[in-house]
């Protein structure tokens, strides 16, 4: 009973984001959208370190690996385009030697804009990348697995912005898009559970990625970390990646429709 799950490493308490458990994802084939940078790149690397085959789908070229390994294989595509998504998922299957059974929707954009200055185009673009994208990739991914009768796992990247409002960084369109991601996650979970497809989300808080704006003003950023984050530091992309890979793995075998908050305790305040 206990031997069925490949144990994750308990690692050292002092290391952040843990240590890859070699083999936990062996034999799995993963697609990571937005896998060229930030949380997506860290997730692609963690999946690879645990034995999965990985293809990133990103509209930008892959950035150099953070882990000194080979660059993650990247298929260029815009996740808002059904045709480009279909082509990219097909190309990924060829590169992976079979249909993917792990999908991580990490592609996303973030723009600070007060509501009174928010244009319809701003709104539409953010919704397209952050919400339409996971819908398109998730629908195609699941349809292929269901047709083949294979189980799989989807992890969508939400945000603590889906849960709380923030007067300091006004981004109603982003917040709403991420709240939509959580709703999409729950509905995917119930519609596809009987096919053995688990669907979960992570909600990162302030994570040290290129998308982070908090530290643009270092003094204000540090002040926020002291008062707004119980663990008093930024999270790392590796810590979010570790949570995503946990959710994709057999260690999370009975989790579906959940959203795990990775925020250093911010939303517990």
């Amino acid at each position: 009973m206990y031997g069925s799950a490949k144990p994750s490493s308990l690692g050292n308490l002092g290391s952040l984001g843990g240590t890859a458990s070699p083999g936990r994802m062996a034999g799995r084939r993963a697609i990571v959208t937005g896998g060229a940078s930030g949380i997506g790149l860290a997730t692609a690397q963690r999946l690879r370190a645990e034995g999965a085959g990985v293809v990133a789908i990103d509209r930008s070229p892959a950035e150099p690996s953070l882990d000194a390994g080979e660059p993650i294989t990247n298929v260029r595509a815009d996740v808002t385009s059904p045709a480009e998504v279909a082509n990219a998922v097909g190309e990924a299957a060829q590169l992976l030697g079979g249909a993917a059974d792990v999908l991580v929707n990490a592609a996303g954009i973030y723009q600070i804009r007060p509501l009174l200055e928010l244009s319809p185009d701003d709104w539409d673009q953010t919704m397209a990348v952050n919400l339409r994208g996971p819908f398109l990739t998730g629908q195609l991914f699941a349809s292929i697995l269901i047709e083949r009768g294979q189980p799989g796992s989807i992890v969508n990247v939400g945000s603590t912005a889906a849960l709380i409002a923030d007067p300091a960084e006004p981004a109603a369109h982003y917040n709403a898009s991420k709240a939509g991601v959580l709703s999409l996650t729950r509905q995917m979970a119930v519609e596809w559970a009987s096919h053995g497809i688990r669907v979960n989300a992570v909600c990162p808080g302030v994570i040290d990625t290129p998308m982070l704006r908090l530290m643009d003003d270092p003094a204000a950023g540090e002040a926020y970390l002291e008062t707004g984050v119980p663990l008093r530091r930024l999270g790392t992309p590796g810590e979010v990646a570790a949570t995503i890979v946990f959710l994709a793995s057999q260690d999370a075998s009975y989790l579906t429709g959940t959203a795990i908050v990775v925020d250093g305790g911010t939303t517990a305040i």
Partner: protein
């Protein structure tokens, strides 16, 4: 079983206490942690915990990297007994890095108007009181060690939604969520993370007892009650100890180093439908 600590940390580096570990979810969690190379102290009111610990120790001794596994008989809902048991675990393991507050009882399945105050209060004392006492004792030790740590409290889907006949149980498990929040805030400066795992309908003796009760009360069979529950779970089955152990192991590992104050449902999606 493969030891997840190979090449990462020496055997026994993680010293974990699991309460309510003689059987069920607690036993599964302890077994998984031992298989991953942790030293584990199992605490339970039942003297069976000694045999459970011996069984786990024998199982993980097959690998060369197992830590120490020991059983302690104690009532963790009693202040003195809980303090003494945690202290004994710390002495034997050389410290405590993590605590899993799993001890709990279901209590009577009766509506409030037919429930004695003593029965109601007993459920809170065991389910909530033991989590308070265990966390307090272990946190004091962890703070003294100065190396951080992790606490996982076992809540329940019935701490997130009510169920007729479950006043004491639901109240105790709902309170676990806010005890976790509070502990997370108080202990964050010490690098100690505190989270709740909220299982759904689990294939445990405690749940089977409840279903036998419902079957008798409704004139149906036990099997019908099991199917009734499983059919309402999107993933179509009851959860297992291994399901919970996977989530607990993750919450005790550095993989969740930025996760604190959270309640994580391990319920097969049941709350969604």
């Amino acid at each position: 079983m493969s030891g997840g600590l190979r090449g990462v940390a020496p055997p026994g580096q993680h010293r974990v206490v699991v309460t309510g570990a003689a059987r069920g979810l607690g036993e599964a969690v302890a077994a998984r942690l031992a298989a991953d190379g942790a030293s584990v102290a199992l605490i339970d009111l039942s003297p069976d915990v000694t045999a459970t610990a011996a069984r786990i120790a024998a199982g993980s001794a097959e690998g060369s990297e197992s830590g120490r596994v020991m059983g302690i008989v104690a009532d963790v809902a009693d202040e003195q007994a809980c303090e003494a048991a945690i202290a004994r675990a710390a002495d034997a393991l050389g410290g405590i890095d993590a605590l899993v507050n799993n001890a709990g009882i279901g209590g009577p399945s009766t509506h409030v108007i037919k429930t004695s105050f003593a029965d109601f209060w007993r459920v809170l004392q065991v389910n909530l009181g033991s989590a308070f006492l265990g966390s307090r004792a272990a946190a004091r030790i962890m703070i003294g060690q100065g190396a951080g740590g992790a606490i996982v409290n076992l809540g329940s889907i019935f701490g997130q939604q009510g169920v007729a006949g479950g006043a004491g149980y639901c109240a105790s498990k709902g309170a676990i969520t806010l005890l976790t929040h509070t502990l997370a805030l108080e202990l964050a400066p010490h690098g100690i993370r505190v989270n709740t795992i909220a299982p759904g309908n689990m294939a445990t003796e405690m749940h089977w007892e409840e279903l036998r009760f419902r079957a008798a009360a409704s004139g149906t069979t036990f099997d019908e009650q099991v199917s009734l529950i499983a059919d309402g779970v999107p993933l179509g089955r009851h959860g297992t100890g291994a399901d919970i152990a996977g989530a607990v192991t993750w919450l005790l590992s550095p993989d969740s180093a930025y996760v604190t104050g959270q309640t994580i449902g391990v319920n097969g999606g049941v709350w969604l439908s």
